[in-house]
Symmetry: C2
Subunit: 600 residues, 2 copies
């Protein structure tokens, strides 16, 4: 259990906080890139109460400039960096969970870092502080939870650099994490993000006051260099849109700021303020140390491949990205999700539409979405199954299914699915079908959906759904990953149904497809006799505003199956108005069809 340690009130570089604790380990911490550190102190804060079963501990990992003070402990306490999300009754509810947050290794808020005293010299480490990695940070956190007697964390949650720690936790200590929530993060920075970090470090190092990192105890430090690095960082944390919103209307009206940097434009005064403020509260050597750790993070390389790294995890996942985040772009989260899918681990993924850029995870603007997802996910992880009263959550989305209020088809589809098989539901909407399947005992269930609100509804029902556009095919899924792939009332809404059919029958051993039948007699009569584009009970939309873009009869579908070499195992033709199956000339008499299919 990580060697001897002492617990004490904190004495931190940036001044002790009333609720902070520290713990010091004398046993050397062996570092991933070589060398070791001893002793090692970790500064942390906790919120809420550890349950008797010790099963409600949530570790929150902070980002580059954060610290252990994730939230205020009481109304008189200083604000925390994630007050909006952490506290009694909040998304990460400290009435239910034991929340733990520690300043990272290399930090400047109480945990051992470049500003700490090097026992070998009695001086601050400064530039002699060894290169550390995200893995080293996690190793120290692991010692901390060992010391606190926490066998298994309910969840590890973090954004940005904090999200990297989440990934490392899952890969390194899969057996000690039940749920992982990486937010706005990546397993490996883009070259662009790397480049901004390089420039930031160059700014610090080329500041003469940096003196090769030996500025502690002097009156001046690399204030200009650190401020420049922070200014660059701030630009990358915001989106272009949000910067225009904040600064464009009054671009020539800078706020007065007390710092020496250019404050000619309103955005200039903002950057001058942020840069100047940062210098007052942060250490340049820590900035270099942590940004180097982020730059070096490459979870895939450390384990041969990203897929191999994530195969080591055994947790469930909630991955969240923000669509205007260009520093940790959503495509990177999708890569991550694809690797989790390849590792066949349960995952929910949502890319939240926002103007807020990378900073979104720290802001209230999108809290309803990301906080809602985290809240539902934690509750589900703690409680195991969720009661389906969650159907009370209402789905505020465009109704894509034409049979929204009359899902006679769902019973038929349910009847086609054997118990205990794995099911992928494409275009799962609010999860009604998955919910029914789970009530029947199906456990290996995954939905695919484009609409974020629908994904939140599914999350609240305790269902896993991955946000994905069916137009992009099903590349994340391997051949025959599921016994059954469903495509209910969605085929007619995609531009290339032929391609989607082939994809679903690649991914599933069997596929179940349902669609409205354009060959139904009402359609025929309207076109033939009235000369109009049909509007019927089964196809109730006017030609110019239909969600459907493809119109197919049962016969058309069967011809396509022949053409594509698709085998039809079962065909169910329905008269949904009468609520019964049709056996006589289905292409004429059925308004809906359900097919059970397989490839070849």
């Amino acid at each position: 259990m990580g060697g001897a340690f002492q617990s004490s009130d904190s004495s931190r570089t940036n001044g002790p906080r009333p609720h902070a604790r520290t713990m010091t380990f004398d046993e050397p911490l062996a570092l991933q890139l070589g060398g070791e550190l001893a002793p090692v102190t970790v500064c942390y804060e906790t919120y809420g109460t550890l349950s008797e079963r010790r099963d409600n501990a949530v570790l929150i990992c902070h980002a580059l400039s954060g610290d252990a003070h994730v939230a205020a402990h009481d109304p008189g306490d200083a604000p925390g960096w994630w007050d909006i999300a952490v506290g009694p009754g909040k998304a990460i509810d400290t009435d239910r969970y034991f929340v733990l947050c520690a300043n990272v290794l290399g930090g400047c808020y109480g945990t051992t870092g470049p500003g700490s005293t090097d026992p070998a010299t009695g001086e601050p480490y400064g530039a002699e502080f060894p290169a550390i990695t995200i893995a080293d940070m996690v190793e120290l956190q692991r010692r901390l939870i060992d010391a606190l007697g926490i066998e298994r964390l309910l969840a590890v949650i973090g954004g940005s650099m904090g999200g990297m720690q989440v990934l490392q936790w899952a890969a390194a200590y899969g057996d000690r994490v039940r749920a992982a929530v990486p937010i706005a993060t990546t397993h490996r920075l883009t070259a662009q993000a790397l480049a901004f970090d390089v420039v930031g470090r160059n700014a610090i190092r080329s500041d003469p006051a940096f003196r090769g990192g030996r500025y502690y105890g002097r009156r001046d430090g690399p204030a200009d260099g650190l401020a420049l690095a922070r200014m660059i960082g701030h630009i990358t944390y915001l989106s272009r849109q949000s910067m225009d919103e904040k600064f464009d209307a009054d671009r020539h009206e800078p706020r007065p700021v007390a710092y020496a940097y250019e404050s000619r434009y309103s955005v200039g005064s903002y950057l001058a303020y942020q840069g100047g403020r940062f210098v007052e509260r942060f250490d340049a050597n820590t900035y270099i140390t942590l940004s180097m750790a982020m730059d070096a993070f490459d979870l895939g390389a450390a384990h041969g491949s990203l897929n191999a790294a994530l195969k080591r995890a055994t947790c469930r996942w909630l991955v969240v990205s923000f669509d205007s985040d260009w520093l940790f772009p959503p495509a990177q989260s999708r890569q991550l999700v694809n690797a989790i899918i390849a590792a066949e681990q349960p995952v929910t993924y949502c890319n939240i539409p926002t103007q807020c850029g990378h900073d979104a995870f720290l802001l209230a603007d999108d809290l309803d979405m990301y906080g809602g997802l985290v809240e539902a996910f934690l509750a589900r992880t703690l409680n195991g199954t969720i009661d389906d009263g969650a159907a009370g959550w209402h789905l505020h989305t465009d109704v894509r299914s034409i049979f929204h209020d009359n899902r006679v088809d769902l019973d038929r589809i349910m009847a086609l699915i054997p118990a205990g098989v794995g099911v992928l539901d494409l275009g799962c909407g609010d999860g009604e079908l998955m919910s029914r399947l789970r009530r029947r005992g199906t456990r290996d269930l995954l939905g695919v959906e484009l609409n974020g609100e629908a994904i939140l509804t599914c999350a609240r029902r305790g269902l896993d759904v991955v946000q994905h556009d069916l137009r992009d095919g099903l590349a994340p899924f391997r051949d025959r990953q599921f016994e059954i792939v469903l495509l209910s009332q969605t085929l007619q809404t995609v531009l290339r149904p032929d391609r989607l059919l082939l994809e679903m029958l690649r991914v599933g051993e069997k596929g179940i497809v349902s669609f409205p039948n354009f060959g139904h007699r009402d359609c025929r009569r309207q076109l033939a006799e009235e000369g109009i584009s049909p509007v019927t009970g089964g196809l109730p939309f006017t030609w110019y505003a239909s969600p459907n873009v493809r119109f197919l009869s049962i016969r058309d579908f069967e011809s396509l199956c022949v053409e594509l070499g698709i085998r039809i195992h079962r065909r169910i033709a329905l008269d949904t108005a009468a609520g019964c199956e049709v056996h006589d000339d289905p292409n004429l008499n059925a308004d809906m069809a359900i097919f059970l299919l397989s490839r070849g």
Copy 2:
């Protein structure tokens, strides 16, 4: 004409080039933000021969770090910054055009700038160099062309800061510019671009060696600060995708560089190299001066509004943007194009798909597109009309019209258009209909098209086309801007034909719409008798791979017109196979319909 001047061989800050000339004006140059400069020297280079009619002069305006040496003059000459585009037989063909490029005011390549001697002190201006604007740069260029006896420029062309000069030329000296080609530019920077500039200037100014701009004659200058500014700039010139392409595969294999900056990653060594190189060839005060001029540029604010500014122009326009350019994002070029449209000036616009980011206009990757557009545009401007042998240009795009080889409909549409009216052709494709109209004498013609290759084909035919997605409506166009708006064989390909119809009848006094008739007897028979989604001569696509997403009969269309309050002036029903008009039960017997419409 602009006061006295002397012409002489160049003696430039960065060493004279063999083909450079300078011209010095003694008459003070009054600056837009106050103050004046005298004397003022401009360093320029020319290529090709000014025609006797002096009508072939093309002014090229350079970007922030460029100079007058736009291209090599001969094989032994040093490379120019736009060799790929300028030279004998190239897009800007020096065998045909007299090409002129001058170092900008404030520059450090021979034109008066902060490094020039202040006659008041006998010392370099340094930080005392006055704040200048894009308008001041253009004013000096105007003096130069006056002195060269050029009454009217054939074209002004430039990218980035060069494009800002193009805009200023058009707004300030509309009568002296026949054609304006702003590339990858804007009338006003985003707050994000402004922010990067602010940080770059802070880096220079906070370098102790900057000494408030008084570093001339000293051994050291603000090398670190200028290198940092350049590194930041370089990141913004590339796209995230292109950086990953260049630097990701071998991210841990930096190239050896001789500069002191961090070169840990391959992208780091690239930035270190670029930063170091730049310091050797560029002046920090010039960097500050020019970036301040870019930041202050706001063409709209200078004239009340962007529309008002562009109303002062009288030229024709070619606007080019690049889709991965995030420093001067395409949305800004669209704003510009919309203002040109509002000013009712002829314009072609293309947003070129590329990975190259802002730098694209300097690279060969997309030269076929942007060079092709510029070449066609210049030829057309010089020659007036273009012979339509250009039909020889072949359109390599998906054929969207179902009547590609049998355009019996075009003759009918032509017959509906009175001579001499203004026509907007929505979804104009390769411009066949516009070309026919022009041959018939129609002059006020504009196409709207999404496909870039089609736009290039139109440009080569001498037609103006604006790239625009019809799904976004027709907001750029004012009410009744055209007598006729065409929508030929496109209505059935858009998701909301009702909205597009209303938009086109807002923008046009009359609208002409043609579409395939889903009520045709072949369609009816196939659905009614065979129970299949129809595939006919008029609708020749299989249900699952059709470019069409809406299926409407003549009757459907007429019902929609009633619903929307659209008045039908003329209906032409065609049997395209027989090549004749249908009068008997058109909804049954016609496979295509053409409608002449108006609002209310």
